[in-house]
């Protein structure tokens, strides 16, 4: 029923003489398409450059804090700046939290916007989308694969920031038991566990942007336009989130609860905003994911 299958029998006359496509293609393991997509995405220079920029942020923050405090002064910079920055000099693990807090509002979602916006529109732009559809996977599965790839990128990007921050923090600052923002102490191992949990929550916070970007990507055949629109929407929402008169709407902005990941550093953990954030991301994923599906499966693929 999909255009992909119709191409083979309706093609040029000479194709009819050839044997039907190998049966093995039909029973292709579901992961193959996904694996190919991953390989294509992560091999691109563009992707690697994005990841390199993300990895550089915690290094820059770490060096800046180190220089500012002169290495010996035990008191960190005062309370202005990204969250947790005052604790970095005493415990390098806090660089992970600071780096995530610094990259989450803009760098991370921008990278996601680039990858998600490029997912469908980029293929259409390069004229490769119809070849992708030749594979007997169907449009729904292709879309799901694209979304899975973008979400994998969310996770990888977040982990790159976290790991780079942890490495920088370990090199420049002491490590050890840490004090939660509620004033209680936890061991370094538990702190590492919380850092991982925070990285996962940050990655999950990007699910909404990813779905939005994918939907925008199905609307146009220009990869650049899709990326620009996604990043533009991101900036617009962030600005609207700062306007006090819109406080009634703000709880529904995908970025509104992003910084709630810091609540994981309270003791006991304050779950209210975290749950709200994850619920909101799931809602965005459902709405824009299904909108992308509605658009993509009904679209005329011309390129």
């Amino acid at each position: 029923m999909s255009q992909a299958e119709e191409i083979t029998p309706k093609g040029r006359g000479e194709l009819r003489d050839q044997p039907p496509p190998a049966v093995s293609r039909r029973t292709t393991f579901y992961g193959t398409l996904f694996r190919n997509e991953l390989r294509t995405t992560f091999r691109r220079w563009r992707t690697l450059a994005l990841l390199a920029v993300l990895a550089a942020v915690p290094i820059l923050v770490g060096i800046a804090v180190k220089i500012e405090t002169g290495g010996d002064d035990p008191s960190g910079p005062s309370g202005n700046g990204p969250a947790f920055i005052s604790q970095i000099t005493n415990n390098g693990l806090f660089l992970v939290f600071t780096a995530l807090a610094a990259t989450l509002p803009f760098f991370l979602p921008m990278a996601i916007g680039v990858i998600a916006g490029d997912a469908i529109a980029g293929e259409a732009n390069a004229g490769t989308l119809r070849y992708l559809l030749v594979a007997p996977a169907g449009r729904t599965r292709l879309l799901l694969t694209k979304y899975a790839t973008v979400m994998t990128f969310c996770l990888v990007a977040t982990l790159v920031v976290a790991v780079s921050a942890l490495a920088t923090g370990a090199l420049l600052f002491p490590l050890g038991d840490l004090t939660t923002i509620s004033g209680t102490r936890i061991t370094f191992a538990e702190g590492l566990g919380r850092a991982l949990l925070i990285a996962l929550v940050v990655a999950a916070s990007l699910v909404g942007v990813a779905a939005l970007g994918l939907f925008v990507s199905t609307l146009t055949n220009s990869g650049i336009a899709a990326m620009a629109t996604t990043v533009g929407l991101l900036i617009t929402v962030q600005i609207l989130d700062q306007i006090p008169q819109l406080h009634a709407l703000q709880p529904y902005f995908f970025s509104h609860y992003w910084l709630s990941f810091a609540d994981l550093m309270r003791e006991p953990v304050y779950w209210d905003d975290l749950v709200r954030n994850l619920g909101l991301q799931a809602l965005y994923a459902a709405v824009f994911g299904s909108a992308a599906w509605a658009r993509f499966t009904a679209k005329d693929i011309t390129a």
């Binding site: 008191s75 309370g79 969250a83 005493n90 509620s182 004033g183 102490r185 299904s290 909108a291």
Partner: protein, 416 residues
């Protein structure tokens, strides 16, 4: 050729099929629309469904309920408290800062914010989430949740710690100088403190009734309604939700006589009567944190600090005479009693604060807050909030109370 074949069969059937295909395409958008609809319905309906109506509780008299509160002996609890304060003032955060800097070098000047009294002004406007935990007389903790930061006040045995995670600074003092009781006076954060204050003010001038029941933080509660009989007061009514089982006040709401949203609304959103983990009350200053010791010499200096910090706005912000008595200038008098009591004191002939004194934006801001009034007493300025009004006469007398402007002028006239 295939393309030609389709050319001459472009008939009505094809057009029909095209329309059908278009309908099928449009039909797919039903899915996202449905998701939005379901989400909107869930957001709208779930709170309504969760609000399963007021619980059925045996009837109880106001006297019994007040006794229940007095007899309440909750030693162990932990929970989350939400406080919304709407005095009708603009956000005071910026003002406090500008005043603080305008007031010249304030104390040590390092801006250490772990001092508990400095945090009080923050609670004066907006919505705040607090966490409270208590385990007996000697272990209490109050935390003010901020964005990616937290301010904790921990009382454990003889130590009282204030920890501000944002600036990584610590305030330390010992309980013998600043025991738990006094701390409660300074930070009336839990509903229990607030309710006790309200009941203390109750006498013949007040009607206290039990009006129905409510559900607060998932617990069944009685609603104790306190209404002033005085006409001059700006206090409309005070509602206290009292836990039916333990007698612990769970929610405190103060509505002004002028109507509208509550001036103060403080209540548990979640509460548990289990013993909190012992580690909750353990505190060791983190490595490298700035520790400010609040011992003998400094203990008296710390409130003075706060006075510098917010001296000017304190005059018309102070909630009650107790606070004024402690931190305010000498010579405090209270005129009348009950709800329309007015606190008055002499600042020493300075008149309206601010203007040239405070200078800059803050000065003009303060001026814009006030209304000029005149009477037998002379000239003065009235600073109004939705609850507390203050009259500052040009010869430096200050009248403050939860009363109307007219009552203040009358009191000033009488005092002349």
């Amino acid at each position: 050729m295939a393309p030609n074949a389709s050319d001459d069969s472009a008939t009505a059937a094809d057009a029909e099929e095209l329309r059908a295909a278009r309908r099928r395409k449009a039909a797919r958008y039903v899915v996202p629309a449905t998701v939005v609809g379901v989400a909107a319905a869930t957001i709208g309906l779930v709170p309504a469904l969760a609000d399963s109506g007021d619980p059925d509780l045996p009837k109880i008299s106001a006297q019994e309920l007040v006794e229940k509160i007095a007899a309440s002996d909750v030693q162990q609890l932990s929970g989350t408290v939400k406080i919304t304060t709407d005095l009708g003032l603009p956000d005071l955060g910026g003002l406090a800062n500008s005043l603080g800097s305008a007031a010249g070098p304030s104390g040590s000047g390092d801006g250490s914010s772990a001092d508990p009294s400095a945090k009080l002004t923050e609670l004066a406007s907006g919505t705040h989430t607090l966490r409270v935990a208590a385990d007996g007389e000697n272990k209490q903790k109050v935390s003010l949740l901020e964005d990616a930061a937290e301010y904790s006040l921990i009382h454990n045995g003889k130590d009282v710690w204030g920890y501000d995670s944002k600036s990584n600074s610590v305030f330390h003092t010992t309980a013998s100088e600043r025991d738990g009781k006094q701390k409660d006076d300074e930070l009336p954060a839990t509903p229990k403190d607030l309710a006790e204050d309200a009941l203390k003010a109750a006498d013949k001038t007040t009607s206290i009734t039990v009006e129905g029941t409510a559900q607060v933080a998932g617990r069944d509660a009685y609603r104790l309604v306190i209404k002033p009989k005085d006409e001059n007061t700006t206090v409309g009514q005070i509602t206290v939700a009292v836990d039916a089982k333990t007698g612990l006040p769970l929610k405190f709401t103060l509505t002004p006589a002028s109507g509208g949203a509550a001036v103060v609304d403080a209540g548990f959103t979640q509460v548990s009567f289990a013993r909190p983990a012992a580690s909750t009350f353990d505190f060791t200053p983190p490595k490298g944190a700035k520790v400010e010791e609040g011992d003998a010499g400094d203990a008296s200096k710390a409130p003075g600090h706060a006075e510098d910090f917010g001296k000017e706005q304190r005059k018309h912000l102070d909630k009650g005479s107790a606070e004024l008595g402690k931190n305010g200038p000498e010579g405090l008098n209270v005129i009348g009693d009950g709800w329309d009591s007015i606190a008055t004191f002499d600042t020493g002939g300075k008149g309206v604060p601010s203007g040239s004194e405070v200078g800059g934006d803050a000065g003009s801001f303060l001026d814009s807050l006030g209304d000029k009034v005149s009477g037998k007493f002379g000239q003065g300025t009235v600073f109004k909030t939705r609850l507390i009004n203050a009259l500052i006469t040009d010869d430096g007398k200050v009248y403050v109370g939860a009363v109307t402007k007219d009552a203040l002028v009358k009191a000033a006239d009488a005092g002349k």
